[in-house]
């Protein structure tokens, strides 16, 4: 993982993208019998990556959701998945905004304007 704020934000964007894929997949399989939901915990991976000093590639971890299954063996909690989807969208937008702010700083420092 590259150092610096931009690298961290980039990792965050990748993690949120993975989360979004997992959530979209869970919602698409909301009615699939026997389907086990997947959850991506990228915040944990990010804090581990920030804690480690090496430059090794950090991957986000995926784990099966341990919630109770319905009678058809499907354990997608559609309510929380929709909330996750919304949260991830806002999170993505926030990280994008921060990235843009970083780039504006660099632009300003290299002789451009700060807007």
């Amino acid at each position: 993982m590259s150092s610096g704020v931009i690298g961290i934000l980039q990792f965050a964007i990748d993690g949120i993208t993975s989360q979004q894929s997992a959530t979209a997949n869970n919602i698409a399989n909301e009615a699939t019998p026997g389907y086990t939901a997947t959850e991506v915990n990228f915040e944990q991976s990010l804090s581990q990556a920030l804690g480690s000093s090496g430059t090794q590639l950090t991957q986000v971890s995926k784990s099966p959701y341990a919630g109770p299954a319905a009678t058809n063996g499907n354990n997608v909690d559609i309510g929380s998945e929709m909330v996750n989807a919304e949260q991830e969208t806002l999170h993505y937008q926030a990280v994008t905004e921060s990235l843009n702010a970083q780039f504006r700083l660099i632009q300003g420092a290299s002789g451009g304007s700060y807007q």
């Binding site: 964007i13 949120i16 993208t17 993975s18 979004q20 894929s21 997992a22 959530t23 979209a24 997949n25 869970n26 919602i27 698409a28 399989n29 909301e30 009615a31 699939t32 019998p33 389907y35 997947t38 995926k62 559609i78 998945e81 929709m82 989807a85 919304e86 991830e88 969208t89 993505y92 937008q93 994008t96 905004e97 990235l99 843009n100 780039f103």
Partner: protein, 134 residues
């Protein structure tokens, strides 16, 4: 692992699968009262099977629906005035459970809406992503 705008593809597979399910349920309800002579085959119930796409253990890539035909043996009903009735006065109805199909319709509609809502959220995230550096 993920292609560009992968969430849209996943949500699209969900919408497609739910469309297949809605079509099957709609077709079954429309044909629930198809009467045939007892010596003929009735309308076969269309059953929608949903399964996740992508290799097991890998990141999921959505859902797929396949339609299989149920039994076409039908159930006999006594209707002596029906021109299709046999000597015993029986006709045959397809084995469609209307209540089951109505529940399917509701489930498919809800899932369809959930997937389109995922699409909208993904679009607004990607749109903001495209502004990076501009």
């Amino acid at each position: 692992m993920s292609s560009l705008f992968s969430v849209l593809g996943i949500a699209c597979s969900g919408v497609d699968a739910m469309q297949t399910w809605l079509d099957a349920a709609g077709g079954n309800i429309a044909n629930a009262n198809d009467v045939v002579s007892p010596n003929q085959k009735t309308y076969a119930d269309e059953l929608t099977l949903l399964s996740p796409t992508g290799a097991p253990g890998q990141a999921g890539m959505g859902v797929q629906a396949s339609v299989v035909l149920g039994p076409n043996s039908g159930v006999l009903a006594y209707a002596p005035n029906n021109p299709l009735a046999n000597a015993q006065g029986d006709v045959k109805y397809p084995q469609v459970s209307t209540s089951h199909e109505l529940v399917n319709l509701i489930q498919a509609q809800d899932a369809y809406q959930a997937n389109t809502s995922v699409m909208q959220k993904a679009i607004s995230a990607y749109r903001s992503g495209l502004t990076i550096g501009s």
